[in-house]
Symmetry: C2
Subunit: 424 residues, 2 copies
Amino acid sequence: MRVLAARIASHTGKDVVVKGWVHRIRELGGISFIILRDRSGEVQLVLEGSADLTLESVISVKGRVEANEKAPGGAEIHVGEIEVLARAEPDLPIPINQDPSQLSLDALLDHRMLSLRIPKIRTIFTLQAGLVQYFADYLRSQGFSEIKTSKLIATGTEGGTGLFEVNYFDRKVYLAQSPQFYKQAMVASGMERVFEIGMAYRAEKHDTPRHLNEYVSLDVEMAFIETEHDLMDLEEGILAYMFEKVKSEHEEVLRLWDATVPDPERVKDIPRISYDEGKKIASERAGRKIFEINPEAERLLCEWAHEKAGIEAVFVYGFPRRARPFYTYPEGRSSTRSFDLLFRGLEITTGGRRIHEYSMLKETLPLFGLTEEGLGGYVEIFKYGCPPHGGFAIGLERLTQKILGLQNVREASLFPRDRRRVSP
Amino acid sequence: MRVLAARIASHTGKDVVVKGWVHRIRELGGISFIILRDRSGEVQLVLEGSADLTLESVISVKGRVEANEKAPGGAEIHVGEIEVLARAEPDLPIPINQDPSQLSLDALLDHRMLSLRIPKIRTIFTLQAGLVQYFADYLRSQGFSEIKTSKLIATGTEGGTGLFEVNYFDRKVYLAQSPQFYKQAMVASGMERVFEIGMAYRAEKHDTPRHLNEYVSLDVEMAFIETEHDLMDLEEGILAYMFEKVKSEHEEVLRLWDATVPDPERVKDIPRISYDEGKKIASERAGRKIFEINPEAERLLCEWAHEKAGIEAVFVYGFPRRARPFYTYPEGRSSTRSFDLLFRGLEITTGGRRIHEYSMLKETLPLFGLTEEGLGGYVEIFKYGCPPHGGFAIGLERLTQKILGLQNVREASLFPRDRRRVSP
């Protein structure tokens, strides 16, 4: 029976089988020391003479576990027999057993199949898997149901720009920018509280450290809210739970990346400021007039929140109507019941209350150059009774990036897609 | 504070607020009886005189809970005040409060935004949400990590046919038919055990009750297997857990659909037969020669398994090489280490061991008209040490369909996509 590297010490004095990758080889005084890597960690193998192995080869090893204080985990394996399950070619294009900070982003992404083997890189994605799980677990505890909706849509939801076109048999369809219509349909179906974890697509030509053309959207939609503050309350609950779990279950990942998460107790203190207050505070801190909540303002507002409330996050509500999609619930002539959450200098959430009254929707469509017919079945949701509702979406890669302090959001995507990159 | 319909009885004698949809209205002797529907169930409202309400309007109601043995849940609400939150137009295109078996599939799908309100239809998707959760929970308990991989790929994985083309800036890419390459990359990354819940796309012109052009694929991949039977063992574990949870948590859904799940204890008895045995058994039962495991054979083999082993499921292994993608581990000249799982007459899983040796992969590619260069970064996975591994994928909609006994797989997709249908 195979034993995982992390559990070797509990088998001291016994014969075991370990399997994994050759991570490091060192010869000293006629003895070879091999570090074997598996999904649980690393273990040292000791054998007499030279090891005819290449780095990254996959091996199965029989041997006896001996205590050794100096070996990782306090034990090592004295090798009886090695079987090579897959020999690696010796010309590794990037080093797997070194600190990845020496590698350029292009090197990491061009050789993505290999860079994901670097243990520190891989931890980004074990943490990310946790975030997905905690998001779902928390929402289920609050009565939300998970949905899976089509990513192929006949019309855009966010205003018709930035859509990738798909050749679908003899017609054109588009990749969904968000599950917006479908979340709303499910709220109105009587499910009331839904979430979706799925891909979203933006055909934007941005080439920045904060944009991806395909990303994982953690989407939520909820019926019978009173105001958009109910949504912010819900997001606080999600984040406090996520931070709690990251602290308790991913301590080693945080240590490797020299990262921390905010104190879960502080999440309820995240300031909530209006768009106009946000511009004012950002302008004061910049020492000049700032006219919109742009990336600079996002950074300044998070610094301000950190000083004021002890947490590097701030909700900004009341975005202008011209900056929001047609389905956003209006407030007065030019404002909306919408919000962003900024975290460590970056917008990680956009959300808000949605229009639920059919009459209001009919008045709104022409303002955005839209028609009922052009929106397909969407209008049926509202024509036949839709409760007051709203929702938001958290960008999974951005949240991961900001928790670990990664420079570029591409580092937080397993196989990122941008304007130039579609492989591997 | 709002009280959910299902919890009304515990508030007998008290004033409460309920919110939801007007499901049914009946007037009798100057009294109106209204059935209000919310996410938890239904409750009867009683008021004097006529109710000026349309079906499906969303209302908020204040009133006193009174015991009434004849009302659903043993209590009803004597209405004090009704606020209409959203008035529904009176011309509902399909009835929401009647048995949906009277509606054609086209009616259900053309008015999908409304048919999802029919309580019995909605239960399909509460069950489906459960299946997604149980799949993930079980795999996490076995050391698997969840991954999210790109659905935009530069080359096909399953042989290059049946791909939807995407106009991606100034080039063409394709919608992924499966996360195959990426699952394998993550196994080889050292994560060893991964799963993904995501969309898969097949540009096939099928128009059958068993095909969708976009479906949710429950994907698994696992390192260090000895044979493909390790994968079947894992799938048995997943299914036994799912069936157990469906039995205990979705009793009401099963009752509504007059459906059952197999006894979880019987899952380990699912017969495993070779492709040739499968043809032989199917031919015997058909009374004529059957030349491949086609839909007819799938039905016959499940009947056979039911009689033989008390469970309507069978693993068929050893599919011919010509019927499997290039990455399938070969067995002899013309067979493979692959398998299908047939359940209640339908293939719900395809899986198998994969080629992990670089030398074998190099020999295989030309047999399928492929080159190393044409596969982009894929080959790096194997060139630099990949463990023996394999995996499989369960079609979520097919599994849902077969659990509930739905006639058409489209019924088990929230917003199904087929050759003709791309909206709503």
